[in-house]
Symmetry: C2
Subunit: 337 residues, 2 copies
């Protein structure tokens, strides 16, 4: 019996929150590897807010997913067939394999991971792009240093939860902004933030003045919108605003710009964007440091794994925009061979 | 006969464009200097967009002018009485003397200028805060370097006209954005910009793509609003956006933030604010360099001097927001002794 590969393809460019009709579930035979390639069975799929941007054809840092193509997605999987000398059947690998059950990839698209070091979802989270994004955003762009007051929005999410913990490791005061009492409890009690602001219950501008009375030195933004404006209003002199994401705006027709941007002048501050890919030459050292913190118990990796199979991709993806995930959202595609 | 000092005082915080009733013209005797002070007769008054911000009680980099106080203003004048050993009658001095005919000031509030070096209005423009703002904004914040494409908004205004010329001196390609054919002609023919975009006649986003096909390395912003958004949409990788002003927004109820701010992430760019005061320790070297360029004919100082006396302050000030001035707007208060 020929094995089939179920795939999630982009059927239409969404307006607002992606609907079921924006996706198409297709099925084709599992592809054989060509020369120099491997076939990977996908085990765990990474679900990221940035994927919403890849569905839109506005100018961005990479071309949008074409209509009819398999949705772009990072995943961890296991090699099931190899014609690549560096990879053997059974190896665990991470790559941009797409929202499907099997993928063919070549050497440069693969990164080997050691499943004895951490559970597989962690290689998509704290030890993956997510952890690296938090690491370089906070330390290279944010230039966070001991004694700084660091505010992180989306603090219970994948990147935010790691950024806040790195801030603590580096001797900063870390303040979380998250939605709901449970996420705030999680941020303080499990991640070690010094304080948490529930944007659904608190007036964020006032809460920030209370929790950061001397102003914010580093604001790590995952959300945009009103919360970005509240942070801008409370910057310390020479503050750094790290633009990592703007999840509150991704499903809006038109992004709302920060009204308080001229506070960058008042406080001689900067706002800077980055992409984790720019730091590829430093990945190895950063991963080693993150793994060290993890094994020393200084860093908690938290993943929110949905056991739904590939067909659950469309509904699981929406959890990101409803604020339903705590930690890194991962879709379990297969239990592996 | 006792000499009188006419003064322009802030009567009310304006909504939108300042009205006549937002000002009060008062008169009092010319003050005598106290010990360590001088009395200055004001000759030329600097009119700056930033003054609109000083009239508002929103959080800013200095306290607002109090209702009933003489309007804060920088001016050049001549010492008419001195009880300060470093200053003699007849000395020309620059300081924050206020919108009035005479002021008392002490040593730290005074900077001596040599009127044989340049016409007096130039000490408020290219050889004053305006020139320094352009210099540090472009070179320190913008990090403009040879070969960069530099775009300057408000390019026919006080700061913009100097910023563009410094960009040319440093070997950049300089593109002006200004309102109207005459300002664009001035920018190219008299200031030496490589190209000019008339935002009243051209579609700025398209014109920027045409004039800066490889993207903008440094965007020096004096205006905010739609033009800032257009520049953000056309940044080069690792671009620097220098926040100097936002004149299009100063009379609005609520500042409109830049919708395209996430292009800072797409292009790994930064947007940074500054105040010229932060570079006080480097003023002397910068003024020497600016004066050298001026005397070598590399830098054109252009002032728009209105000969109206202090009572013309309220109406002259509005010229800034109507885009009526070319170069540095200066109000002539007196012809001097």
């Amino acid at each position: 019996m020929e094995m089939t590969n179920q795939q999630v393809r982009l059927a239409a460019r969404p307006n607002g929150l992606p609907k079921e009709s924006d996706w198409e579930l297709t099925s084709e035979p599992v592809p054989d590897p060509g020369d120099g390639q491997v076939t990977v069975e996908i085990l765990m799929l990474s679900l990221d807010p940035a994927m919403r941007g890849w569905m839109t054809d506005a100018p961005s840092y990479m071309p949008p997913v074409a209509i009819g193509d398999v949705m772009r997605a990072v995943a961890v999987g296991q090699v099931v067939a190899s014609r690549q000398p560096d990879y053997s059947e059974g190896d665990h690998v991470v790559g941009a394999f797409g929202a499907q059950e099997y993928a063919v990839a070549d050497g440069p698209g693969l990164t080997k991971v050691d499943p004895s070091l951490a559970p597989l979802p962690t290689f998509l989270g704290a030890l993956g792009m997510t952890g690296l994004t938090a690491y370089f955003g906070l330390l290279e762009i944010g230039q966070a240093k001991e004694g700084d007051t660091v505010v992180v929005s989306g603090a219970a999410g994948a990147v935010g939860s790691v950024a806040g913990q790195i801030a603590k490791i580096k001797g900063c005061r870390a303040i979380a902004i998250a939605g709901g009492a449970e996420k705030c409890r999680f941020a303080v009690e499990e991640l070690g933030f010094d304080a948490a602001i529930d944007y659904k219950a608190d007036a964020v501008p006032r809460a920030l003045r209370r929790e950061a009375p001397d102003g914010i030195d580093v604001y790590f933004d995952n959300v945009g919108g009103d919360i970005l404006d509240a942070a801008l209003a409370n910057l310390a002199m020479r503050a750094r605003v790290v633009l990592c994401g703007a999840i509150s705006q991704y499903n809006e027709d038109r992004t709302r710009g920060p009204s308080n941007y001229m506070m960058l002048l008042v406080r001689r501050a900067r706002m800077e964007g980055f992409l984790v890919f720019d730091f590829a030459s430093k990945y190895q050292d950063a991963i080693a440091e993150l793994a060290g913190w993890l094994s020393a118990g200084k860093l908690t990796a938290r993943e929110d794994v949905v056991d739904g199979g590939i067909s659950a991709f469309p509904t699981t993806f929406l959890r990101l925009f409803r604020g339903e995930n705590v930690g890194k959202l991962v879709l379990k595609v297969s239990d592996a061979a």
